[in-house]
Symmetry: C2
Subunit: 317 residues, 2 copies
Amino acid sequence: MPVIVPLEEIQKALRTIDPLPLIEEGFVAYSAGRVVVPPVGEMIFENPPGDVHIKYGFIRDDDLFVIKVASGFYDNPKIGLPSGNGLMLLFSQKTGELEAILLDEGYLTNVRTAVAGAIAAKYLAPRHVRCVGILGAGTQGRMQLEYLRKVKAFGEVIVWGLDNEELDAYRRDMEALGFKIKTTLEPADVASAANLIVTCTPSKKPLLRADWIRPGTHITAVGADTPEKQELDSAIFKKASRVVVDSLRQAESRGEVFKALAAGTVRMSDVVEIGRVIADERMRRSAEDEITVADLTGVAVQDIQISKAVWNALRLA
Amino acid sequence: MPVIVPLEEIQKALRTIDPLPLIEEGFVAYSAGRVVVPPVGEMIFENPPGDVHIKYGFIRDDDLFVIKVASGFYDNPKIGLPSGNGLMLLFSQKTGELEAILLDEGYLTNVRTAVAGAIAAKYLAPRHVRCVGILGAGTQGRMQLEYLRKVKAFGEVIVWGLDNEELDAYRRDMEALGFKIKTTLEPADVASAANLIVTCTPSKKPLLRADWIRPGTHITAVGADTPEKQELDSAIFKKASRVVVDSLRQAESRGEVFKALAAGTVRMSDVVEIGRVIADERMRRSAEDEITVADLTGVAVQDIQISKAVWNALRLA
């Protein structure tokens, strides 16, 4: 019988481990061509509106393979349910047996996205981060900070959000965790104060303008994961000395690099995968005054590795 | 929390219900274009050799959608495990919530295949079945008989298998269930004795020759589900007055009809889907001396409906 792990146990397990090394390994394996990720399965529902995605894959010669199911049913809040849901299934790569069902309700997708942001900062941010800037005061805007603090020391945080109510809640929550939070309704304030910026909004038009970005800034964009979404002015890529993505293949069809390719401000030959940045230190920031950009659209190897991290913690406990 | 249902409970639930009406409904919905079945997901492993398939879909405006995972790891028997494995996940089509996990280990795929055979016999076999012929003395050869008896009265059964050891075991098992079993090592014996024949082998060359088939015979072929496998001499299709498949789309690329199309003994315009046969009695056998053929390659709507049948039985119990 497989082990069934509810969300609370997943969250408890995550507090005992650091998932960063496994996700880094996953990115390196992905960029080395050792990860098999078949096309995503999809079902679309109309009444009520909903979509379901099935993402799956494995690292060659690993112990496990993973199937993730993630759904969004946008009328759920009307009946008191979260719109997002999901689970991850872990199977033995040696026998096909189902070992564990992680009923994470979409939580692990948020974690692996936040961990990817921390990895980008670890390898690309300037040595001294005087202020972290966050665009988007939602769940991901919170989690990015939590995982950033594991890899970087920083003093202040400046957060942009849609309104003061949202920002007040963010400040309250994050100050309780020990962060020093300033809030603003002007994205330009973030650009002028922070030298490490993470954008995590569902915006469909650029929030950060190129002429605001100061030398010595690193930007990680995690919000845009479709061809429509965009958080960064494409001209920012002209100012960047290093452009990093999680997946070259995905960058050609979605996210910030996709928009910048269309705008002619970046060429694919200038873009490197984060797996190569992790594996080869020559691919990282080479001077403190460079501008660097990481555009993360999310790859299945992160799902594989975050679920393995949780499952390893549970089965070895 | 979803309900987790182990194999023994699934088998117990199946003994309390008749899954045939839901599977018939599924075929009718499929042929009416009301079933959404995206392309099958696949992962192939090399060391040890294994394959995993993800089949999923839903009937429009139904309550549930289903994701099935089925695997075959062919070295498993060396370590005392079955090679086949699998599970079915049932989700709400209204909220995306996971309602139930049926840990059927591949069993429900066998059941839905046997039920489809029974449905084909119900609508296409001659009124009086004097003898049932089964080619293939394995699991499916047993289950076909069990479900056939729910829809048709018949006296004797003649079974072809690879060797006497396999056939003796089959006779022992099935006589314990009340069947009258004759065995043979010659497929021709089956053709001359039976007027309802079910082929359920993994054969890659024809087992039944056209000149053996007598007027008034119905044949259901369930073994060939790939472009390579074949159980019926393609010339049989020239003698058939009615050719039925579960899926016209699949029949173009696998199974007996696929081979017969290549041999020029059938045209797609002569083939009808079983969903239409169920819905319209003019599509069925019209005379006792006709030869009819049903070629079933297996469609996801059967998985959807068999798992719903089990889940309905359990949640209403």
